[in-house]
């Protein structure tokens, strides 16, 4: 049988004395689109950073394509995994092309400048992401929505097998949120594996083929959105009363929090 993309085995992770991840085990198969949800401080971003190889588990291990993640060197990892952290800004005004070109770093031969091939790849990514009109613009002059597309393009320039995203849409309006997810869905359909940390339960429900609900450093529920996004699960983990309905178009659950004033009646 083919190795799973990620095999996470009993990992524990401590920040100083705080146990952020408390014995988690799961596997990720090729082609999945996983949404990681959970309250603030539950350990969502920590899981992502562990998968990305930025943090190393205190106990247990993560295998990527059958090999321990710790054995990969940075460059090799970056050829396979592209990660978009919450903060990746620069004080300098690189042009959009220069910025996306940095994604070619792990593939480009070592040397002074990037080759013609790398520039062509950037052009290709800019076309598929429909941002060719941003040619020559400084990244620090872009709107939030454009900037997000450019950051995503930088990840895609890495030509990765897996894309890890940490709350990529929480500061975008709904139009740009849906645009981003439409792009992600397209990439997923083309075979890219995507793992995304999300605050918005409805986006997770709508777009992710698998939802992982994290609570206090453990997996509370893991499965398709219908089985994970039940009002029982959500009320328990978030300590908030919610109504869960079915989206009439997609048939997926959607979640509406209930204000305290209606609870007292």
């Amino acid at each position: 049988m083919e190795n799973p993309l990620f095999a996470v085995n009993n990992i524990v992770f401590h920040y100083d004395h705080h146990r952020a991840i408390d014995d988690i085990t799961f596997t990720v198969n090729n082609g999945e689109f996983i949404g990681i949800i959970g309250p603030n401080g539950a350990g969502k971003s920590t899981i992502l950073r562990l998968l990305a190889g930025f943090l190393r588990p205190t106990k247990g291990f993560i295998a990527f394509s059958g090999r321990n993640l710790n054995e990969y060197d940075r460059r090799e990892l970056a050829q396979n995994i592209a990660t978009l952290p919450q903060a990746a800004d620069t004080p300098f005004s690189f042009t959009v092309e220069e910025f996306i070109l940095m994604g070619r770093y792990p593939h480009a031969p070592q040397g002074f400048l990037y080759g013609k091939k790398e520039f062509e790849f950037v052009e290709y990514i800019m076309e598929t992401m429909e941002i060719s009109h941003l040619h020559g613009r400084g990244v620090n002059t872009l709107s939030e929505g454009e900037r997000q597309k450019v950051s995503l393009s930088q990840c895609l320039a890495q030509d990765p097998k897996v894309l890890l995203l940490d709350e990529p849409v929480s500061h975008l309006d709904i139009r740009h949120q849906i645009q981003t997810f439409d792009v992600l869905e397209k990439l997923h359909n083309e075979g890219l594996t995507i793992i995304i940390v999300l605050h918005d339960l409805n986006l997770a429900s709508e777009f992710c083929s698998r939802v992982m609900l994290i609570s206090k450093g453990r997996i509370h529920a893991d499965g398709d959105s219908e089985s994970v996004l039940t009002f029982q699960n959500i009320e328990k983990v978030y300590d908030t009363v919610v109504i869960v309905k079915e989206n009439p178009l997609s048939g997926k659950p959607f979640v509406v929090p209930v204000s305290r004033k209606y609870l007292e009646k």
Binding site: F54, R74, L77, T90, P91, F92, T95, E98, P106
Partner: protein, 325 residues
């Protein structure tokens, strides 16, 4: 392609400016013909040219270029466009070294070698302190800048402490040196300095791609396949050694490492591979030109070159900041 042409034109322009400044520095007041002819004579101007002007221009070239490159490197790894070669406390350490060598009277023993040796030693001492402290914070840029400021302040206070013990006559050369001084370096240093300067600079030239990526911060840099701790350590040490060499050769010359990358980034864009080369040429030009000013502006009085770069650079920077608003 258009962009490449623009880059080529700008690089060619600053190279021309550099060449002009070199001729000015070598042959101020003389025609080109006299300059070439006197080079081969053994008297009068020929002697001045070979013994004073050429060595001085070489040092200004090496120091100016290196300060430009150091500025670019530190601005990227500290993710701060206002960083400069002295941000990490090198100036304080170097001044301390010089003041110490003056007070224990080593200048009498070592002569011209005292300032370069002790300046470099002091610079490396402060670098070692900042490096050791930063290491515990995993080279977090904000902590590094803070450590640099603190270390620099502590050393400067020691310098003033030593000054308060010194006899005012002895302070003159030390003070000149603290304000940046291209005149007092012994020419015996030149053959040693050329490779010592050029080796770290040429290594830094090859890290343009990494500097681009490191400016995105440690986490993202790691995701793009750079190993940030290794590069932070390496680039930090290389640029510190280079800045220490600059300080040892010519004292503290402010603003070159700040203003040259700042202006060039504005016209060439942020890509570090080109910026490093351009800042080398631009830094060399700026310092050689400032040195010409320092020699002839109030002729026959010679100003410390650090005063000229400070005033000139300060006004240019102010102008740029006001215009941008």
């Amino acid at each position: 392609m258009k962009r490449n042409q623009k880059t080529a034109i700008i690089l060619a322009t600053i190279t021309c400016l550099l060449v002009i400044s070199i001729f000015l520095s070598l042959g101020y007041g003389k025609g080109l013909g006299t300059l070439f002819r006197s080079f081969f004579t053994n008297e009068g101007f020929g002697l001045i040219l070979r013994k004073i002007r050429i060595p001085r221009t070489i040092i200004a070239f090496l120091v100016g270029g290196s300060l430009g490159v150091c500025g670019v490197t530190l601005q990227s790894i500290l993710r701060n466009p206002l960083a400069e070669p002295y941000t990490l406390g090198i100036a304080g350490g170097a001044s301390f070294g010089i003041a110490l060598s003056t007070i224990i009277g080593l200048q009498q023993v070592l002569g011209a070698f005292a300032n370069p040796l002790f300046g470099f030693g002091g610079a490396m001492l402060s670098v070692a302190v900042v490096f050791a402290l930063s290491r515990k914070r995993f080279f977090d840029p904000n902590s590094m800048v803070l450590f640099g400021i603190v270390v620099s302040l502590v050393f400067s206070s020691f310098v003033f402490f030593l000054f308060s013990l010194l006899d005012p006559d002895k302070m003159q050369t030390t003070l000149m040196w603290l304000m940046g001084d291209l005149s007092s370096l012994d020419i015996a240093f030149i053959p040693i300095y050329i490779p010592m300067f050029l080796i770290p600079t040429s290594i830094l030239f090859f890290f343009g791609k990494e500097l681009d990526i490191l400016s995105l911060g440690m986490e993202k840099a790691q995701y793009l396949g750079v190993n940030p701790p290794r590069f932070y350590k390496g680039l930090f040490l290389l640029s510190s050694v280079l800045a220490g060499l600059c300080v040892s050769a010519s004292g503290i010359i402010g603003f070159v490492g700040l203003i040259v990358p700042h202006i060039l980034r504005g016209i060439l864009g942020a890509g570090h591979t080109i910026l490093l080369i351009a800042s080398y040429i631009g830094g060399a030009f700026f310092l050689i030109l400032s040195d010409v000013f320092s020699r002839y502006l109030l002729y026959p009085i010679e100003l410390p070159v650090g005063v000229v770069t400070g005033i000139l650079g300060g006004f240019i920077l102010l102008f740029l900041l006001i215009r941008r608003q």
